[in-house]
Each structure stands twice: as structure tokens, then as C-alpha cells.
């Protein structure tokens, strides 16, 4: 990782750095060679870090006023919204921040899918990413329970009940999760504790994620390896810092729109009704970012198999570096894979849509087809494509095609003629 020796300028700096090389670390991060052809799909890593910090800071300040008890939770949230100075702002930032967090993570994941960022030698970065994603879903699910509205309560009931599908020990596990015979106060208090904890686990994993990234360095839109040192890279500061900053500001404008002008549009009205164990809402739906998995879960008629299908849908991503047999990384040079990629995107959006609809009739049929296709993509299409696909020739370096103004395939093809 440390390719160059860094000497701090001040005596104190030298003394400190010899004992804890923080200044060397800062220097490494500042100078870190980044491919200069990264496009805006690469800015979402920085955006995600901003989202995590935002959620932690707003979460901390909310936790100063929130009461994790079934009798007082809903009221404490109203207290925050009405009486706490800027409480309404912090609450809306936190709630909409969760949605923005997932929006960013999906773009980030789909960037990796398109450009082959999960392929060797970046498999571990990818797998750590999957774990981060799982933890995000757990944190978001538990966070949603905390206001103790109708969706909080019934969403918790439905999802925790899934564990009863496990043979033999299922019922016991559910009781253990609940701390009782149904979702109630013990469930709420432990969900609050875990919800508070998980973001810090995520923080640690993000450090590992970035550390693992810095070994091979970033992937890039044309997916070729860059030998360091290279004139195809720029130091992270100021080039990437300013670009990430610009992208982050655009992201924040969208975020601000939701927080200030449509703070409840991504949520569910039923969660403004206090939890009632005797009345089930007509349509139990999770938040939008969990809808595709909800659709997969409900598309399988068997309870246990539905749970397995839902989990497999996420875990199969971990196997992706080995399922995708293609030697070429970037979809830019994989015209057939590119088509299947966009079909996958459409498939996931369709799953999200039907996830919000009642699980019957045409919606259920679509959900089943879309679920089957999802697995087909990873288990059949990808392995086969790697062998069968005729890929386009890839450039030798970044600078060559880029000087022509874009990743110009024609130029790449003709590079031999260019170089006499």
C-alpha cells in the first residue's frame, strides 16, 4: 500500500508519525493514483460515505430524544417532530436519508455489475460490499420498527415470522428474536440497540472495503488494468475530491427536495397510525428499497422456499465473480452482456413494482417470471456468456481512446494503424 516514503514536515509530525502513521495514511489517501477516465458512476462511493455519516450524526441526535419503549416510542417521535429544536428537520433527514442511502447503494452496485468491478482481483471488495449491503438492510428494517407505527409493527411481525420457516428450530428462533410471544416491547428495545450498533459495524467494513480497494486500485470504464506509476492516473486530491464533491452536491439537491418538500412521499401513511396488534393493515409493504426482495419472497408458494429464494437472491451476488466467466471486465466491450445487463435492470425494477402490489393475479404471475429470470441471469446467462460471447477488442491503455474524445471503439480498433 505505501509505495512511497512520506516524511512529515514538522518535527512533531515526524515524532507522531513514527509512532502512529496517520500522516502517512493521509498522504497516501491524498496521492492515491486514481484512473483519470472515471465517469460519474464512480462518484457514488463518496456519496455513500456521506450518507453513512449523515445517518450516524442524525441518528445520534435523534437517539437523545427518542424513547425505545412500546408505550412511548410513537409519542417520543411526535415530541421530536414538534418540540425538539430542529427535531422535525433531523427526523426527516434521517428517514429520507435511509432512502437516499439505498438509492446510492443500488447505483453503486449496478455500476459494479456493468463495469465488472467485482471481477478478479477485486472479489473481496465485492464480498465485503455484499456484507455491508446486508447490514444496511438489517439496520433499515430495524430502524423502521422504531417509530412503532402500524407498518413498523406489522412489518416486524411478518419478517420475523419468516424465521419460523426453518425446520425444527424455526419457532424457537422466532420466540428468541421476539423476546416474547409476539412482537412487543422486548423486540423494540433490542431492535433499538442493534439499530444503533450496526452503522458502526458498517463503518468498520467500509474501512476494510476501501483498504481492499487500494491494493489493486480502482477499476475504470474500459476495465483495463493500469500499471502503476502511470500517466493514466491522477492523484485523488484534488482531482477526485472535487469531482466527488460536485456529484455529492447534485445528490444533496435531490435529497433536499425530498426532505423539505416531499418528506413523506417515500414512506407509508399507515406508519402515522400507532401500532395496534389487533388490526392488520390492508396492505403490508416494506419500504421501497426492500420491494424486489419482498416480491421474490411472495412469488414462491412455499414458506420455507420463499425465504430461501429471497436470501439466495442476495447471496448469489457473492458468487458473482465466479459465475461470470468472461475474461473481459467492462460491458463497454461486451455488447451481448450489455443487453442482458439492461434486461436485469428492468427485471429488478419490475420486481420492485410488483412487490408493492397485492400478491395475486397478474402481479403474482409477473413476480414469478421476474424472479425466475433473476436467477436465470446469474446462474445460466452469465456463465454461458463468458464462453460464448464475442467481445470487442480492448484498448491498451486509457489515454489512447480517450484522446479521441471518448472510449471510441473505432479508434481502439484502428490503434494499430495509428501506431504505424
Amino acid at each position: 500500500m505505501s509505495d512511497h516514503e512520506y516524511t512529515p514536515k514538522s518535527k512533531f509530525g515526524k515524532w507522531f508519525n513514527d509512532r502512529l502513521p496517520l500522516l502517512s495514511l493521509a498522504s497516501h489517501l491524498t496521492d492515491y493514483p486514481t484512473p483519470k477516465n472515471l465517469n460519474y458512476w464512480w462518484t457514488f462511493g463518496g456519496i455513500l460515505t456521506f450518507c453513512l455519516i449523515t445517518q450516524i450524526v442524525t441518528g445520534l441526535t435523534l437517539a437523545m430524544h427518542y424513547i425505545a419503549h412500546a408505550d412511548m416510542a410513537f409519542e417520543s417521535v411526535e415530541h421530536i417532530m414538534r418540540d425538539v429544536n430542529y427535531g422535525w428537520l433531523i427526523r426527516y433527514i434521517h428517514a429520507n436519508g435511509a432512502s437516499m442511502f439505498f438509492l446510492a447503494v443500488y447505483i453503486h452496485i449496478f455500476r459494479s455489475l456493468f463495469y465488472g468491478s467485482y471481477k478478479s482481483p477485486r472479489e473481496i471488495i465485492w464480498i465485503i460490499g455484499i456484507i455491508i449491503y446486508l447490514l444496511m438492510m438489517a439496520a433499515a428494517f430495524m430502524g423502521y420498527v422504531l417509530p412503532w407505527g402500524q407498518m413498523s409493527f406489522w412489518g416486524a411481525t411478518v419478517i420475523t415470522n419468516l424465521f419460523s420457516a426453518i425446520p425444527l428450530v424455526g419457532e424457537g428462533i422466532v420466540t428468541w428474536l421476539w423476546g416474547g410471544y409476539s412482537v412487543d416491547n422486548p423486540t423494540l428495545t433490542r431492535f433499538f440497540t442493534l439499530h444503533y450498533l450496526i452503522p458502526f459495524l458498517i463503518l468498520g467494513l467500509v474501512v476494510l472495503h476501501i483498504w481492499a480497494l487500494h491494493v489493486p486500485g480502482n477499476n475504470n470504464p474500459i476495465g483495463i488494468d493500469i500499471k502503476k506509476p502511470s500517466k493514466d492516473t491522477v492523484p485523488f486530491h484534488p482531482y477526485i475530491v472535487i469531482k466527488d464533491g460536485f456529484a455529492l452536491l447534485m445528490f444533496m439537491i435531490v435529497f433536499a427536495f425530498f426532505v423539505f418538500y416531499a418528506p413523506n412521499i417515500l414512506g407509508h401513511a399507515d406508519n402515522y397510525i400507532e401500532a395496534n396488534p389487533l388490526v392488520t393493515p390492508a396492505h403490508i409493504v416494506p419500504e421501497w428499497y426492500l420491494l424486489p426482495f419482498y416480491a421474490i419472497l411472495r412469488s414462491v408458494p412455499d414458506k420455507l422456499l420463499g425465504v430461501i429464494a429471497m436470501l439466495s437472491a442476495i447471496l448469489i451476488l457473492a458468487a458473482l465473480p465466479w459465475l461470470d466467466t468472461s475474461k473481459i471486465r467492462s460491458a463497454v466491450f461486451r455488447p451481448l452482456y450489455k443487453q442482458f445487463y439492461w434486461i436485469l435492470v428492468a427485471d429488478v425494477l419490475i420486481l420492485g413494482y410488483v412487490g408493492a402490489m397485492p400478491a395475486e393475479g397478474l402481479y403474482l404471475l409477473i413476480a414469478r417470471v421476474a424472479t425466475a429470470y433473476y436467477f436465470l441471469h446469474f446462474l445460466i446467462v452469465l456463465p454461458v456468456l463468458g464462453f460464448k460471447e464475442r467481445t470487442l477488442p480492448i484498448p491498451l491503455s486509457i489515454t489512447e481512446p480517450v484522446l479521441g474524445g471518448s472510449t471510441n471503439i473505432a479508434m481502439a480498433k484502428n490503434r494499430e494503424s495509428l501506431h504505424k
Partner: protein, 169 residues
Amino acid sequence: MSEKKTNRRDFLFTATYAVGAVGVGATVWPMIDQMNPDASVKALASTEVDVSSVAPGKTITVLWRGKPVFIRRRTQEEITDAKSVKMEELKDPEKDEDRAKNPEWLVMLGVCTHLGCVPLNDKGDYNGWFCPCHGSHYDISGRIRKGPAPTNMEIPKYEFVNANTIKIG
């Protein structure tokens, strides 16, 4: 790089930093302000107390802003005692009439100014209050007479809204 170009570039970066800093400040402030007393706490900043049942020579304790407030209806003898103390004798010189505008009623925070314990009523060497934690003695005007406390017991803002009711805070 020409002078003009450098200046324009510097201006752009300086302006960006400055505008950015404003945003950071505007974002940080709500995070800090949310720890300040919220509206429901501030609404309870005043308390009204009905003192019609307090007999002369008796003290009641009420809760105000989470702290005890002693309200004593003093007898004529106690008032005379309070007013006759010489300023030189006091660690924290204060005239009784400055502490109790209506001399019959003494309204003060029942918190020892040493380290915050609640002094005991009708105890101590000065016919006032005695703090058992570290032995501070207060007189019948709530002034420190002996012991480690540095100042007299605090007089909060209060007023009689009518003959029977005191509004504290």
C-alpha cells in the same frame, strides 16, 4: 500563469471554500441546538404555587424546573431577626429586603451553593437551614453564615399574581 489568471483562480477557490463553510456551519447548528431545552421544557419554565394553606412559621417545598424551591411564610420575629443582621457578619453580604421583597414570604432555591445538596429546614445554628452534606448553616433569610458554601441560597424570579398565588420563573 499570468497574474490575472492566478487571481481569478484564487478567487474562485476562495469563494468556493467560503460558501462551503457557510453551509457546514448552517448544517452543524441544528445538531447542536437540538440539545438545548426543547419547546415542551421551556413551556414548563414557570410554575404557579397556591400558598393559601401555608401558616406563619411554616415552609413548603415545591418543584420548579426540576429543582426544589423553599417557600417560607416567616413570623414577625423571624423577619426582625433577618433584618437585624449586620453586613460585616456575612460571607455573601446581602440585605434581607433585597432577598424578600414581601418580608413575610421567603422564596428561594433549596439548593446548597456548595455542592448542590438540599438543606434541611428548621435546622442549624442560625434558625434557618442546615446542609448535612458538608455542614453549611443558613439563616432565616437563606444567607450562608457558617460552613463551606460560598454564597447565599439563590432567589429565583417570582411574583405574586394574586394574594394566594406565587408564579415562579
